[in-house]
Every structure is written in structure tokens, then in C-alpha cells.
Symmetry: D2
Subunit: 336 residues, 4 copies
């Protein structure tokens, strides 16, 4: 960490600062210039509150050289993490497609979709039981019953199941969920993250709509600091001014994260883009860039046209996407 002091800093203020930094176990290197004094901090600065330092009267600016996360940091983990989700591996060369309906609607629906996506090569089944909806009047999911239907589909197909948690009091209902998803809107629900850090469940952490990659990794750090190291990161688009896509899918997170962290990175093109016709090219792009997996919405072929979600693929369309993805996978970008 480098701290630049204001020109008018008095010697006793500087001494106070140094004493305080030393009390936190850090060494200081001071370099006095004509206009500015620079203090370099050496030691474990990952636990320093950069806002507090930056807010000091005598500090003109402060910046990190080391990243503020440790458990999630690639530097301290030689190898890419392989997360084992009920026997299905993700990361470290293990590529998986997580597929299934946005919302669990009925036993028939979820079992049918589960069979279809398994046949096409998906490794995990997703399904929403608790749905975060912008409007209090929109369908909020089947809740506990939805989880039970997912468990039936799991019993039926053997696919591990993935579902979103919105509230820590619901944790007991997730006992048989194999991979617990934290949605974009809860990426900085710190109390929820902390509690999930005390469980031994793999966690799929989606990036918030307007969160930086560093904030995302700090949220992973919340979970990992509690002892749960099995975190998978999932990009699902960020909010920009563009209106032709629901969000802007930021695929550059793949090389950025591969450098910063050892955690697996998966991409959700369905939520990011909002239109089915964009899912295939973006799923292929994510695969080529070296993602560890994909999350794709698939909905059963509807009896009438009324519930064919614009962003969901039919099982047939998903099969086409999966084929294209698996064909590309051997040529995907690799990270040492």
C-alpha cells in the first residue's frame, strides 16, 4: 500500500501515523520529495481498511499494490480450485453446463427438462424456487415446494441441483441442494454471505449488476473467511446504457479472474442478454475464452405459446448450443 501525504503534514502527525501503522504489524518506508511525502507499507495489508487510511486528514491519496483479498487470491493458491458438487467437478480443467428452467413450475416440467438437458450433456440442473422479483405483484416462485420438486428431478436423473437462496432463514430448506446460488442482488448481502461461509455447501456467487470485479472477489472473501472455500464465480451481465441487450455481458472477467483468483468462473448468457437468439454465440464465446462452465436457461416445449420465456431455450435449441460448445471446448483458451 502506498500512502501519499499532503504537503503540509506536520512531523508529529507523520509520527502518529507511523506509530498507528506499526501497531498493526506493518513496516513503513518513507520517501520525502519536494512536493509530497510517500509512505510505503510493507506487510500484510489485506486486513487494512483502505477507506479509513484514505480518510485521514493528512493523506492526499492511498492505493493498494496488494489485493485486499487473501483467501480468494491466486497468489496464495498454486493451483486452480476444483469444486466438487455432489461428485460433479467444476474448475481446474473440468467444464460443466448448468441448465434448467428459470422457475420451477411443476413436477412434470422440471423432470422433463432435467432429462432433456442431461441427454444433451448438462452436468447440473438449475431451477428457481425463490425468485427475486422487482415487483411485489410478480410470481415469487414455488418456494419450499419448488426445492422439493428439484430434489425429485435429482432423484430421477442423478443430476446435482442448483438453486438460489434469498434469505439465511431459508437455509434448512437447502439441505439437499448441492450448489447454493447467491443472486446478483444479494452479492453484497454481507450477513447472508457470512452465514454461508459457515456451511460446507459449494456456493455459486453471481456478480452484482454494478459491482466491480474487486468487490465481487471481496464478497467471495466473506464466504471464504468463514471457512467455506468452495466458491464458484458466475458473471451474468452488468448494467450499462445499452438497451439492445438486457445487460452487458462482460466476458473479459474470464482472463481478469484467471489472473487474480484460483476460483472457477462460469458464465450465464441467458440472464445477461435476455434474448434466446444471443445465447448460442455468447455461450460459444465464453467457452472459447476459457470459462469453466456455463449456466443456461432451458424451458420445456410449451403446450401453447404463452409461457415461452424470451431468454429460455427449448430443449432442442439447448441441444444445439451444447453440441456447439462441446465441439469448441478442446480448442478453448487455457490458463497455466
Amino acid at each position: 500500500m502506498i500512502v501519499v501525504l499532503r504537503q503540509d503534514t506536520k512531523p508529529e502527525q507523520m509520527d502518529n501515523l507511523k506509530a498507528w501503522l506499526h501497531s498493526m504489524g506493518l513496516e513503513t518506508h518513507v520517501s520525502v520529495g519536494h512536493n509530497h511525502t510517500i509512505v510505503g507499507l510493507v506487510g500484510d495489508t489485506s486486513k487494512i481498511d483502505i477507506d479509513l487510511v484514505g480518510s485521514l486528514d493528512i493523506v492526499e491519496s492511498v492505493r493498494r499494490i496488494q489485493e485486499p483479498f487473501k483467501n480468494a487470491n491466486r497468489k496464495f493458491h498454486g493451483e486452480a480450485l476444483v469444486v466438487d458438487v455432489a461428485g460433479t467437478k467444476i474448475g481446474g480443467g473440468n467444464f460443466q453446463i448448468i441448465a434448467g428452467p428459470c422457475s420451477v413450475e411443476s413436477r412434470e416440467q422440471v423432470c422433463y427438462v432435467a432429462e432433456c438437458v442431461k441427454k444433451s450433456g448438462a452436468g447440473l440442473l438449475r431451477g428457481g424456487a425463490f425468485k427475486p422479483r422487482t415487483s411485489p405483484y410478480a410470481f415469487q416462485g414455488l418456494k419450499g415446494e419448488g426445492i422439493e420438486l428439484l430434489e425429485e428431478a435429482k432423484a430421477h436423473t442423478g443430476l446435482p441441483i442448483v438453486s438460489e437462496i434469498m434469505n439465511i432463514t431459508h437455509l434448512p430448506m437447502f439441505e439437499h441442494v448441492d450448489l447454493i446460488q447467491v443472486g446478483a442482488r444479494n452479492m453484497q448481502n454481507f450477513d447472508l454471505l457470512r452465514e454461508l461461509g459457515k456451511t460446507n455447501k459449494p456456493i455459486l456467487l453471481k456478480r452484482g449488476l454494478a459491482n466491480t470485479i474487486d468487490e465481487w472477489l471481496m464478497s467471495a472473501e466473506y464466504i471464504m473467511a468463514g471457512g467455506n472455500e468452495n466458491v464458484i464465480l458466475c458473471e451474468r451481465g452488468i448494467r450499462t446504457f445499452e438497451t439492445r441487450t438486457r445487460n452487458t455481458l462482460d466476458l473479459s472477467v474470464i482472463p481478469v479472474l484467471k489472473k487474480l483468483t484460483h476460483l472457477p468462473v462460469i458464465i450465464d448468457p441467458s440472464h445477461a442478454l435476455g434474448y434466446a437468439h444471443m445465447v448460442k454465440p455468447m455461450a460459444m464465446a465464453a467457452t472459447a475464452a476459457g470459462a469453466d462452465g456455463l449456466m443456461i436457461e432451458v424451458h420445456n416445449d410449451p403446450p401453447h405459446a404463452l409461457c415461452d420465456g424470451a431468454q429460455s431455450l427449448t430443449p432442442e435449441a439447448f441441444d444445439d448450443v451444447a453440441k456447439a460448445v462441446f465441439q469448441l471446448r478442446p480448442f478453448a483458451c487455457k490458463y497455466e
Copy 2:
């Protein structure tokens, strides 16, 4: 609501759609053009899931004419809402400054600041007890003890108190908090909003970092749909590409919200901007534009420079801001 259908919609698909809309109590007006068919929906569309309609195969686009919120809608409330916070009124011509420390640190600190801000004209005392922090290693607040210290400051000065809730299980600790704040990161923590809708506490709902005004009002609607109509909206800056300010303070929410809703609107320049020297001009701007109040961070004069938060004002600086604001207030923009 206007639904534009694709050119290739078949008559039976159109009939399905109409039947479905009628079953929800809506009337439909169909207008057939050369290239498109337009269906106008008449009736209470506030409870229609626009995403579901937009996702139908046969729908090219859909847009609302009516707002999707009803409880928070100005059209259904003749007069501006006056929220009574333990006897102190906000809204409908009642202007209040909420002031106090970012974090409650000690009895001395919070009581001293409370006395100072009261003397300068603040009507409510703020203080953080549960602090949402990006890093798990940063100070997370005094928690329950912080709330108790706020209650002591209230007993001492008579100022109603405001503090942030992060987790619905903490609600019992907020029994004596007069105005419960929902922070920006929890603006779409829908389970929290729903539970707060069942209480009779006034709620201060901050805008999320990347949320639209419509999403903000939908979050107010979540609270109000549960029966709690006492919601105050608080703008605290949105995330943009600009780096000279922590966030971009969007003061245009004042005229936008005054047209859309009857709820009071207050502005928090301290969090929005992140630097003390910008608080005064932006507090004055918000006042002139007709805000119903301000939320300003004030910290006691520190014994040494080490904890003088860059965005906090000293009590003396706050007094100067308050004087300027109260001097402007009679000339502020008024909304019918």
C-alpha cells in the same frame, strides 16, 4: 400497456393471448396495421408481470403506459405524504436534517455529536450500528451495543434516531429506533422489504447504486404492499465512470419523484460524494431543488487527526452548512 405483436402471429395465438388477458380482468383493444398488430390493455395493469408478457413468442415488444406501482403512485394520493417520526414530521412542507456519525463509536462520541447537531438545527440523529462493509476484515459496527448508545443519545437530546438494518432477524433490536434505514445494497433485498412492510415503523429507503428510479419505487411498493405506508426515499449517489466523486449524486430525482410519487425525498450528499468539501454546495443544491430533507455525516472533533473521516463534517462545519441550508430553504422550489 401496449403490446406489439409480431407480423407472423396466427389468429389462434392472438385469441389465446386475448383470453389470457381477459382472465386477468383486462380489456383489450386491437389495432391491425400493415406490418404490426397493436394490442392496448385497459384496466389495472399494475399487477401484470411485464416480463412474462414480453417473453411470449408472439410479442415483439411491450411497454407500460401506467406505472407498475400503485401504493407509491402520486396519481392515487392527492397530497404529499407527511411521515411522523416520533413526533418529528418529514414531507409535505416539513424539512428536516438528519445528522450524526457514520458509525457509533462510544457513548461520549454519539452524545456529543447529538448535542452539537441538535444545537445547529438537526431534527433527527443518525448513527450506524450495523455497518455494511465491502471487506470482511473492516470494522462492522458496534451492533446491538451501538443501538443502545443511540438510544442513550436520544434520551439525552430528545432527537428521534435513525439506524440501518441489514438483516430481518435483527428487527427486535430496532424496537426503539424511530426510523429504520434500508441501505443501498439492500434496496432489492426483497425479503427484508416485505418483512418491514409488516411493521409500523417509518422506513428510510436508500436508492441502490445502479438502480433506476422505477426500481426504487417498486422497492417502496414492496414495503407499502404489506401495509406500511410510511416510506421516505433517500438518494445517495449512483455509480458511473466518474472518479473525482465517490458516486454521482443524481439530484434530478427530486423533480422526477415529486411527479411520480407522494413520498418524501431526502438527499444524502455525504455518502454520495465522499469528500467533506462538497457536502455544503450539494446540500444547498438539494435544498434549492426542493428536497424534503438532508442526511449528513457529522463526526466529533477528533483528539488526533487519525479518524477524521474525509466525508464527515466537524460539528462546526456542519453548523455552517445548516445555517446556509436554513437560509436558502424559504426560497426553495415548491411542488404543488
Copy 3:
């Protein structure tokens, strides 16, 4: 185009509006509801000024159903456009890599790089002669001399050359430039676009830092409306809040543009991301998603480390990227 009128519109105002619309050759379909009156416009609305309509007193809102661009519109062009750049084809199944240095620095540099990238499979040579720089004190390019050096490299290797124009008065210097680039900062320099529309040179139009896809296509329309139909679109990243990459590369433009327009789409990962290590995965992603080409910065191996641009690849690194891209290309997403 659908125009929603305010509830209080008087019959004579409505008649005025209809007369005005008819005078522009449009038919109107009026649908009167309980709360709103909707006017559907039928005919060629691409030349209607939507802002003017939206600004009318009696209009509540207006939205297009047809796109406001015609020359650039896929609907009016059965087949994907193939742009012929001095014999090298781009688009319609023809994939090209444009490579070369950010700035032309010397004869040796540009000829050496040109030979290298040709050997690796690049189809065109890029090089900046006029450089748009944020600071007036930064290097502004070799200007006319830079163009001449590019021409020498072309004579040497046979590669067609690409360079950026910043000012229409420079056009005579671009006589032997095969593909003229309009940079992101000039995407809405409408006078420049209009003049380029009068030439017969292929134009490479970069997307502005904060421009929507529709605005981008409208800028292409400016060029095409003048009679020059040879426009290639190039995505180079948009501005967001993320700081780990210089810009956010928006690869979803590929499927969006493939649906909206017949113009070729190429991707520039070098400028978008700003770091060499991200170029390979993002070049691979763009290829997999079905881009018609790539633009990649390559700099000669520097005699000392002082000018190795962080975003530029060495010829060796470029060769590695090109191999990976050409290997993927047969499996890339195809658009009918």
C-alpha cells in the same frame, strides 16, 4: 411508430397532428382507449425525427417499431455485405485479421511488423499516423509521414493498409489508404461522416465509448446515405465503472448486429481491454461468436523494454493468437 397521446388532447390538436403526419406521407391508425389515445403510423418512418414528435405538447410518449436506419438495415438487404478492401474481402464468410502497430514510428518498425503479421496470417496492416490523444502534450503521430511509411510497408508486403482519419481536410493524404478508420471519439463527428459518405473508400467505423448500438448504426447510415455503402463496424469497448479493464468489451454486439444489419462486424480486443494478456482469450471469444474479423495491435520486439506497449503483442505472441483464432474459426457461430 406508435404515438401515445395525453388524456387531455383536444380534437383539433389531434387533427393538426394527423394532418402534419399525412403531409409527410404517413398513414395514421387511431385507437381510442379509456385513458389514452394511441396513434399508429404506417409508412416510411425512417426519416421522421422522433425527438420532434416526442416533444409535442400533446404526446405522452413515442416509440419506434421500425428501426430509424434504412441503408444499414438488414431487412432491406438479403445478403451479408462483403467489403472488398483492395482485393481482400471482409464479411459474408470472409474473416480477416487486421494487425499492426498502434502508432507508426519508423520505416524499419512498420515494415518489420508488416512482414511478421503477414507471415502469421493477417490480411491487412494497421498503423496510426494521426493519433487522437487526451493530452495536447502527448505524441500526436507522424501524420503525413506516417501514412507514407504505411504505403511503403504495403509496397513491401502487399497488405492493404488501414489508418485513422481525424479531420476531413486530411482526406487527400488518405488517397492510398485502403480502409479509412473513424475512431471512437469521432463516431458522432457528423460532418466527417457525411464527407466520407461522398468518397468511394471502405470505412471502418468504431463504436463510441458511450454510444448505443442504434446510434452506431445511425452513424453508419450517415456514411451510407451519401452513397458509400462499404462500411465495416468495429467494437472497441464501452465505458463502464469497471477498472480492471480499460473499457468493457461488449461482444454481444455480434449477435445484435447480425440481426439488425448486413454490415460486417469486427472486434478490437487490444484497445478495449488495454492489457496484452487479455487479447488472446477475447480474440478467441470474438471469433467463436462469429465476428467477421479482428483488429489487433502488434509491436516489433523492442531493442530495450521502454516502448513495449502494455496492450500490444510481440510478433511471437501475435502468431500464437492467430494460430488459436484460425484453429477455432471453422467451429465459429454462423448466422443465416
Copy 4:
């Protein structure tokens, strides 16, 4: 400027770097830590190309301590700049309202509006003759004839005139324009800026839609580096995800710019917000925050409703805004 070197920097690379920096007249202070080596640069770094330094192989990161602009820098100018526009002063305590139509349409229109706004207290007349339009099919302005009509209105009322230039070849037509406006889309048209720097006309420089404050000041620096020091900065809204306003008006530029530069700052609420009903509160907010002036669109009362621009005020509404603004002005925030 602080340069952080990579851990594996070799001594001879470091020596190369130091020699190169010394050759540019800078002193270097090297501080070697366990993990990083920090080089502090002392001297005039305003003319250093930070991108070039950051792109060196051995550099991990680089950041400025000094601002990269000098002519526009407050530190080198004791007093706020007063710009004299044909006898009308702006800045340094001189507050002006610039008002007039978006586009000049006719002699009657512009003379009538000019008289009205003069009567209400406006100090300058604005009017668009060359209009930057997103669509090539939209009205592009009366061009040279529009400028002549403005000159007539000036002769009629004595108000200095303001109009936008889009192309440096038009400069001769602007001979009698008193304040030349550079629009948001041309803020980084560096060739245009450079040429305007060679004139002796006051320049009104609008902020680009997605430009940082630092980039804006660098564009002012382009003009000033040429010898023309009379630059006025004008905020007109930035692009965000919010759709209830056309752009997001960033009023915090006022305190930020008052600290960084001595140039006057004016605010254009009409273009920023896009709706007439928001102009008054935002004009009042800007005034209270200490802006040096306002730019407001005013359109004559239309014979029929067809051309009443949604963002334009009628002369009566403008008179109401002006009264409110002049009433507030004595209480506005002051900057030393």
C-alpha cells in the same frame, strides 16, 4: 508521479528508465521495498505521457499526484477567471443566464425570444445554427443563415450571441459570434480544439456524454495550450442507465471544478434532463451550488402545439425560472 515497478525488474532496466526520465528533465526518488520498488518523479510531469510510462514492461502501475493539465489548473492561477464576452462578464462572481432557442428557425422567432429573455434578465442569447443530429434525416439547422439571424437579434437587443461550431472550416462564419460553443460530441475533436486555441474568441466547452472531469479539463487544456485562455466549462449531463431523465445532470462538477480550475462553470439543465418541468428545480440547484451561470432553452409561444419542444420553456416559464434563480443567487455557495 509515482511509478511502481514489477518485482522482477533488473538493475539495468531500472537504469534505462531513470536515464530516460532524467532526459526529460525529471528527478527520480527510488524507494526499494520487499515486494516492490517505487520511483517518485519530481519536476514538471504535466507533459509526460502517462500511458507510455504505464505501458513499459517493467512498470506495474503508475499514477499522477500532480494533475496532467497546467493552463487550466487552479494551482497556477490565483484568481477565478472572468471571461469577457463582448462586454458581458462571466465568472469570478459574475453570474449570467444564456437563453434562447435550441434551433434558430426564423427572424421573427429569434428576435422575439431574444427580447423576451433579455427582459427576464438573460445576459446572452443562444441559438443553434449548425445542429449535430443523430440521424442524417433530421433537421440539421439553418447553418450560415442561422448565424446571420442571430446577428440580427444581437443588433436588435444588444445581447452577445452564442452558437455551436461543428467543423473548423466553418470558423469564418463565426466571426461575429461572441462565444463559440463546442458541443458534447466534439469535446474530444482534438483538431477542432487545437484550431480554436489559435483564435481569440471565448469558447464554451461542453462536457462529453461519457467523459470524466479530468478529460474535460484536458480538452480545455488543448484550447488553452494554443494561447486562448478564455474557456468556459458547461455541464450538460452524462450518460447512465437511468431512463426517467435524458441524461444524468452531474451538479457535483461545481465543487470539483472550483477546486481544480479557475475557469468559470455553467450548467445546462435543458439538455441534461430533456423535460421542461425539471428545468426550474435544477436551475435553482445549480445556482445554489455556486455555478457561474446557466444555459436554458427558451422557445417562442407556438401558434399551434406542434413545435413546442419538451425541453424548452416558454418565455413566461423562463421568466418564472429567472426570477427564482435571481432570488436565490445572493444566498448561493461561494468559493474562496
